[in-house]
Symmetry: C2
Subunit: 437 residues, 2 copies
């Protein structure tokens, strides 16, 4: 019998602000960071699980503190029992009344719970000797339903409806798993579009993206309309007419500004406009969508939980749902989110990039294809080239398509030398830097 | 010239779970806690500001860590400049892109920002030699408008509309300030209603509440319908027909359960039903309100920010808005919340209790009466007897009415002996206790 023996945590930060990687209208100088967790066991084979929260710099230490606060919930527990009831663990952590007060179900503590659950899923997939997407896709519908916290969903999605959706989705899953392993899963790229990049770099990266096989690129907008018009024109010229250009405002607008600004960018035939306003503004997003039709609205990377996703769908506020692997309560809550999208027939195009988000979220999109939505139509996972070298089994995109991971686990394990090199504030990458916390 | 020299923080916890004080259907065993902050200056008179986040136990250390992460934003700054532009400080902290990622505008980091802003408001009121409510009520409407972050409000409340509301509210404010100082502000009491109390205690406390001059008492519900029916009957019998009984479900229901459960409690003529479901479920709360009319719906103590309040009002989801002093970004965001309520003509009945919530929120309700809504009609501040003895200038309720504070500041200062006695985990009150973090 093996037990959980403790948490090992790291505050890892990458100095991305030095090169404007990741710069957008809301986030001018991010230092991509990871509140990183290893859940250790005393299993003879050294079994461990890796999870993290992605942040953009300052406050990453607070996220680490939140993860550490969860250690007492797991320490000493039997590994098999724990991994055999991850639905129970999810409900226990999310439902704990003391921790719940710190959200509820949103922000620092909710993301920390997500990191712990994701680390346990990594462990479960390793123990099963399977990549996470396959482990999930091979679970029976009733097992998947048990993983989900249906609290607050009853008016829209009952366990029975979830079961029906999963049973429908399970038909033909072996064939789709084979197709996935053969063809991969469609990606789009945000590489060209960071707001801090020069026009020449934007043009080159757009051309490069098309050459690399991407059929959709994404540009950051919302800084200044004149710049957006210029940059959209450059991008459209560089990629040509057959390639999609998505736009991302990163929440900088209020409702009337969004409507008028998007009206001016409509001429470039955007594939979607992303995060036009506050992620909490369900009604505002719905108002924007009605006003800018036929331009489509995408949102979700900052949506805190299934309750807000439920309402975005109920209010017909979004055309595309963008789940994030680390914003919500882990794999479990994202299963609920995928089921909500399936219920409403809305395609999911996961948010990725950051540190490790591509690695982790690909498993969820692939599960969705193989065992739930049963299609990749209108679906693409975001791809950003940076920082994959720090992962033991990095995500791989070839010809514009994510390759199905084969290694056991959730692809969340970071290289030990990277953890040490970029530890903040005392790792070699940061020593000598003038930094605030 | 004086400067901010640093933060002093405490993790203070009170073992309230030992007596079931504060127990409700969601929160069975709270240990009321305070992530407590003193902002120190080098002013010759020893000027300092006190603020806090209220939590219910585990994770209070994470909240302290979040407050500490904000120290670099204030350390070294000129006190007069800082206090002269608290609107600017509010926008700087809430808008900081790194910190924003950790919410955005919700949860641990947003509450920490609230504690820092509230500490600065305490400092500003001390420096002005006035209680906070009077300092705010004597500001000119254009000064108040400058304090507010209007981001994401433009579709509902513009700065000009806010100015108009405040100008209208400023007419007669001297007379209302005098009336407030003479008569106080109406309170209601939650003392009788904790779910963990015996029936005999419920009855005695109900009778005592009426004797003490309260015209409204609140009961916790949502544990088991049979118990709720029994307890409501006891309370109704004990208080008589002329006294209001509000009910509080503390978020335990989903939408259909709320509707059927409240249907069974309607016979006791509840003054309102509070938090019938998730605080994020704007559409669900609106559905419940439509279904249970004429029973009124109250919510807000867990609403994370002005964007969600805006929508609760837009969606006609609530009859009563319950601001909380420590859940949002301090006095500044609560000014926005009060203005939204004024715009929609919805009365504000602040959430209080906990540790220090009565002390702080009374200032906001009193400001609202004196300089904005200009009425106490349908308005009451929650009152809970416990833990006031730990404050230097505790809130005082006489004959069912809060007395207007006279001491300079925001009433947020805790006694030093209390901070030491209840420091967690090493204070005398906790030593020898078997505790998890």
């Amino acid at each position: 019998m093996s037990r959980i023996v403790g948490f090992e945590t790291y505050d890892v930060r990458f100095p991305t602000s030095r090169t404007h990687d990741g710069s957008d209208a809301m986030n001018r100088n991010p230092d991509y960071a990871s509140a990183y967790l290893i859940v250790h066991t005393d299993a003879p084979d050294g079994l461990a699980g890796h999870g993290f929260v992605f942040t953009i710099g300052a406050g990453n230490d607070v996220e680490v503190a939140a993860i550490r606060a969860l250690e007492p919930f797991l320490a000493g527990r039997d590994v098999d029992e724990l991994l055999g009831d991850l639905g129970g663990l999810s409900r226990e952590l999310v439902g704990d009344s003391h921790l719940r007060w710190l959200g509820p179900e949103r922000g620092v503590m909710h993301m920390a719970i997500g990191a712990v659950l994701n680390a346990c899923w990594d462990m479960a997939a390793r123990r099963a000797g399977q990549p996470l997407w396959r482990l999930l896709a091979e679970l029976e519908p009733r097992q998947l339903v048990e993983l989900i916290d249906f609290r607050y969903l009853a008016d829209v999605l009952t366990p029975q409806e979830a079961l029906d959706l999963l049973q429908r989705g399970s038909v033909g899953r072996e064939q789709r798993a084979a197709a996935l392993e053969r063809d991969g899963y469609p990606a789009y790229t945000t590489a060209p579009g960071w707001l801090g990049y020069e026009d020449s770099r934007l043009r080159e990266l757009c051309e490069q993206s098309v050459e690399d096989g991407f059929e959709l690129v994404k540009l950051k907008v919302g800084g200044a309309i004149a710049e957006d018009l210029r940059r959209c024109a450059i991008a459209r010229e560089a990629v040509g007419d057959g390639i999609g250009i998505a736009l991302d405002a990163n929440q900088v607008w209020d409702v009337p500004t969004a409507i008028s600004w998007i009206g001016q960018l409509e001429q470039f035939d955007p594939a979607w406009i992303e995060e036009p306003t506050s992620p909490d503004d369900i009604l505002g997003t719905a108002t924007i969508r009605r006003a800018i039709s036929p331009v489509r609205v995408a949102a979700g990377e900052h949506v805190p939980n299934r309750v807000v996703f439920k309402q975005l769908l109920q209010a017909k506020a979004i055309d595309i749902m963008q789940i994030d692997a680390c914003r919500v309560a882990g794999v479990n809550e994202n299963l609920a989110n995928l089921l909500l999208a399936a219920k409403f027939g809305v395609p999911v195009c996961p948010h990725a990039g950051g540190v490790g988000l591509c690695e982790l979220v690909q498993h969820l999109a692939m599960f969705d294809y193989v065992a739930l939505s049963a299609t990749t139509e209108q679906r693409r996972i975001e791809w950003i080239e940076n920082l994959h070298e720090h992962f033991v089994a990095p995500a791989v995109v070839i010809d514009g398509r994510y390759q199905a991971p084969e290694a056991p686990g959730a692809s969340t394990e970071m290289r030990v030398d990277s953890l040490l090199e970029f530890s903040f504030p005392a790792g070699p990458a940061w020593l000598g830097e003038q930094v605030s916390s």
